[in-house]
Symmetry: C2
Subunit: 222 residues, 2 copies
């Protein structure tokens, strides 16, 4: 199977996409969050840290790479292409303030997954033409203070609009939790990315397995 097909198959398995955040995780490290999320059934982990030194980030990435490899889980690094390459992550996720997607694709080659954040249709179409493998679409709802650069919530309409015009898998993001995650899938998202709903939970494993149960029952209905 070529890497493009393999990547696509992986991404469509990403019902629930967990993004780590050490500021919100109440003393638990990126690794702690990843480990608990995996034990709850997560199939993909994104390491996101905009403040750590490169050395610290690299060390976190290495540990999560070992863990995810051991469990057959996808591992994505946010923003830092060098860290992703250094620890042989499965891919990189970039926002509109990170390296341009087309540049990232050149740096990582065809074998690695490229995710791109899009907050409107124009950005989504640009990402598609730049070689993205999936889109992070949002913010859908009002997010907690995890991403200062996240912008105003765009509502479920953004998912519908992007779905109608782009062929890439859509991972919805922004304020998604147990009470609204059904709507996200009903609107056409292929997966839901969560930060606060998981990393602030007292029991991360349970929060993940609970969200996965809701997704499974929602998908059964549709």
């Amino acid at each position: 199977m070529d890497s493009k097909l393999k990547n696509q198959k992986l991404i469509f398995n990403w019902n629930l996409y967990i993004i780590t955040d050490e500021i919100l995780s109440q003393g638990r490290s990126h690794f702690d969050v990843a480990r608990a999320a995996i034990s709850g059934g997560a199939k993909v982990i994104q390491l996101r840290d905009k403040t750590a030194s490169s050395r610290t980030l690299y060390q976190s990435a290495q540990k999560i790479r070992d863990l995810t490899r051991e469990h057959g889980i996808s591992f994505i690094v946010n923003d830092r292409v060098d860290i992703a390459l250094a620890c042989d992550a499965d891919g990189v996720h970039v926002g509109q303030n990170d390296l341009p997607a087309a540049v990232v694709r050149q740096l990582i080659g065809e074998g690695k997954i490229l995710g791109v954040s899009a907050s409107n249709l124009e950005e989504a179409l640009q990402a598609e033409s730049d070689g993205a493998n999936y889109l992070g679409v949002g913010p859908v709802f009002e997010a907690r203070r995890t991403k200062s650069d996240a912008g105003q919530p765009r509502g479920l309409e953004l998912i519908t609009t992007v779905k109608a015009h782009c062929n890439l898998p859509i991972i919805a993001i922004g304020g998604i939790n147990a009470s609204n995650i059904r709507e996200v899938f009903r609107s056409g998202a292929d997966g839901a990315a969560v930060i606060s709903a998981v990393v602030t939970a007292g029991n991360i494993r349970k929060a993940v397995s609970n969200l996965l149960e809701i997704i499974t029952s929602q998908k059964g209905e549709s």
Copy 2:
């Protein structure tokens, strides 16, 4: 000429190594500082920014890459291997809190220059065995508040000690200015890196040409 020899020849031409800093540069951009420093005679520019977004840093790096290429000047990116690769810089400089030097060498290959900061002999020897092309040795003197992670000044003895045990070119760093730069070369440094002494100057071009004059007259004496 193979890339290793070519790099070595370049580095020995780096009498004065200019590091940009937008926090200290009184409203002048990285590009402004680079342009003025080049007009003053600088032969190498390092772009250093620990706070900018990846997109902003990439845009600065691209502009400085174009400028330095036009003038035949070496261009080094601090810390961010991905940015260095994305803009085809001549090399990367890493400190002890950045990606490990051996990992950086794997990411950049043999063709690009790798500089490593060393604040003691052990770090210098490790950098040499990890594949560094030159060492940033210091802090020699008390630096102004440019690098919060710079540590205590080590004095000129550090240069002498590293010189005695390592074969790599030594770029001394930390609080170097017009009044103490002679001592740095007398102690065996191959070059001097400056931040404050240049980026805080009202006339950056003049500050650079003045430092270069002192270096030339010092080298003439020795």
